[in-house]
């Protein structure tokens, strides 16, 4: 009576070895697909692509967010957010729309702090061009009367011939508040 079940178990034991290669291959192929369809970073997603491309999410990809108020002051939003990081990993249209929706629906306020707007010089030093109010989602300060929101996603490229490091804008989102 034991024979059929032990034979079955033996058969399972012989074939179960295929599971890991199958799952690992599917995840690898999914990474390759998403890399081409949604620009998923080579460094993430189980595609064995570490040290294969200059697209590390935190160092070579960027998401810039700006809020423009009713006085036409364009304020950069400097805050780390998981959703922002996810866009750096996989800048899909869906992720960008989610971030835009989150920012649009956040009641932004002026904080006590100000953001210095810098200009980089050729030698790597900076000069201060001016200061803008720093928007914050926290506190009880005055609410910002927002006129528009801009999100810019881009990537840093390096040209080996000219030795130029370039930040290229790849995707944008713009939202106008109706008055």
């Amino acid at each position: 009576m034991n024979f059929p079940s032990s034979a079955l178990r033996s058969r399972i034991e012989r074939h179960i070895v295929l599971i890991i290669p199958l799952v690992a291959s599917l995840i690898f192929l999914n990474q390759i697909y998403r890399q081409h369809a949604h620009d998923l970073s080579v460094w993430k997603g189980g595609g064995m692509g570490m040290f294969a491309a200059l697209d590390r999410p935190r160092s070579s990809r960027f998401v810039k967010i700006y809020i423009t108020d009713s006085d036409n002051i364009r304020m950069p939003v400097i805050a780390y957010d998981e959703l922002t990081y996810r866009i750096q990993v996989e800048p899909s249209e869906k992720n960008l729309d989610r971030l835009l929706s989150k920012i649009v629906n956040t009641p932004w306020r002026y904080s006590h702090q100000r953001t210095p707007i810098l200009e980089r010089q050729k030698d790597g030093s900076h000069i201060v061009l001016g200061y803008t109010p720093k928007p914050t989602p926290w506190g009880r300060n005055e609410l910002i009367d927002m006129s528009s929101i801009d999100i810019e996603y881009g990537q840093i490229y390096f040209d080996v011939d000219t030795k130029l490091l370039e930040g290229k804008l790849i995707k944008e989102r713009h939202y106008e508040f109706s008055k």
Partner: protein, 305 residues
């Protein structure tokens, strides 16, 4: 050729007592037990994203130290594998590729311990270890070949300057000490929403020698991974020996220059797994490599430079 043979024979006879001592100690473990213990050590030192994973693994390790049969418990490995998979899936945006491989490996151990037949246990372990080595090498080669920034050398030119792990290498090749900071600040300014950069472009003063070194590393990295992949396919003793010597060379040269310890540890375990029965003495070198990878993490570079 004779002098090379003589050298190896001499070395072999001198190291005989060392090999015998290692053999004697390792004979107290079964192959699967030792691989399981090494994996558990890897999981303790280089686990996953959250601390939720650490406590059960530490507990498992302590139990296994005092009660070795626990190492062969497929249920315990199943729990570890489920937690590892949860960590990978839930935090995949943050998870490095070698953590995926670690999760696959924990499942391999779970399945191997679940098998009743010794033959199936061993077969499962060997096939999975060999497959994961081949997937890693093939995946790395494919990604490099289809990448827009690898083959032209731009990847290593910038990565060498911006990853702290390569500081030692930069000192070794005599790169201007201010260049890495200049490049990092250029990257930060291009990413910043509050910094204006003229034409969104910054010139990096890289000289021809550095570009040449970066290109040499680019080519070396691709070629060695490609050759390892090909050799892994060839199953004859001669090719397998070449594969192991080359892999050991790859491990030592890679991790002495840039200590990415978690992945190094994992590939040493896989290579130990596939070499232990066929080339026992070669497999000891992988165990020694595990120790060396840990030693490479010490601040010896800062002492030298």
């Amino acid at each position: 050729m004779n002098s090379v043979n003589n050298f190896f024979n001499n070395m072999n006879s001198k190291l005989e007592p060392v090999f015998n001592t290692i053999e004697e100690h390792l004979s107290k473990w079964t192959h699967l037990e030792l691989v399981s213990m090494l994996t558990l050590i890897l999981l303790i030192f280089h686990g996953f994203v959250t601390e939720n994973f650490d406590y059960p693994v530490q507990l498992f390790f302590l139990v296994a130290v005092f009660y070795r049969p626990a190492l062969s418990n497929s249920f315990a490995w199943g729990v570890v594998a489920i937690m590892a998979s949860y960590e990978v899936m839930n935090f995949w945006h943050h998870t490095a590729n070698h953590k995926f491989l670690t999760a696959y490996w924990t499942w391999t151990l779970c399945i191997s311990h679940w098998c009743q037949s010794e033959q199936h246990k061993e077969r499962n372990l060997m096939i999975s270890a060999r497959f994961l080595i081949m997937l890693t090498m093939a995946g790395a080669c494919i990604q490099k070949l289809i990448s827009s920034s690898y083959m032209d050398g731009s990847f290593f030119e910038i990565t060498l300057l911006t990853l702290p792990s390569f500081e030692f290498l930069l000192q070794l090749i005599g790169v201007d000490a201010s260049l890495p900071d200049f490049t990092k600040s250029a990257m930060a300014d291009l990413r910043s929403a509050s910094t204006v950069v003229a034409q969104s472009a910054i010139s990096i003063p890289i000289d021809a020698t550095f570009s040449l070194v970066a290109m040499a590393i680019t080519v070396w990295n691709l070629v060695i991974q490609f050759v390892l992949e090909i050799l892994c396919f060839c199953r004859s003793d001669r090719f397998q020996l070449i594969f192991h010597w080359l892999f050991l060379f790859f491990i030592q040269t890679t991790y002495i220059a840039a200590p990415f310890v978690g992945f190094g540890f994992l590939i040493c375990i896989w290579c130990y797994t596939i070499s232990a029965k066929r080339f026992p003495r070669m497999s000891y070198l992988y165990l020694a490599s595990l120790l060396m990878i840990v030693v490479y993490q010490s601040p010896w570079r800062q002492v030298l430079f």
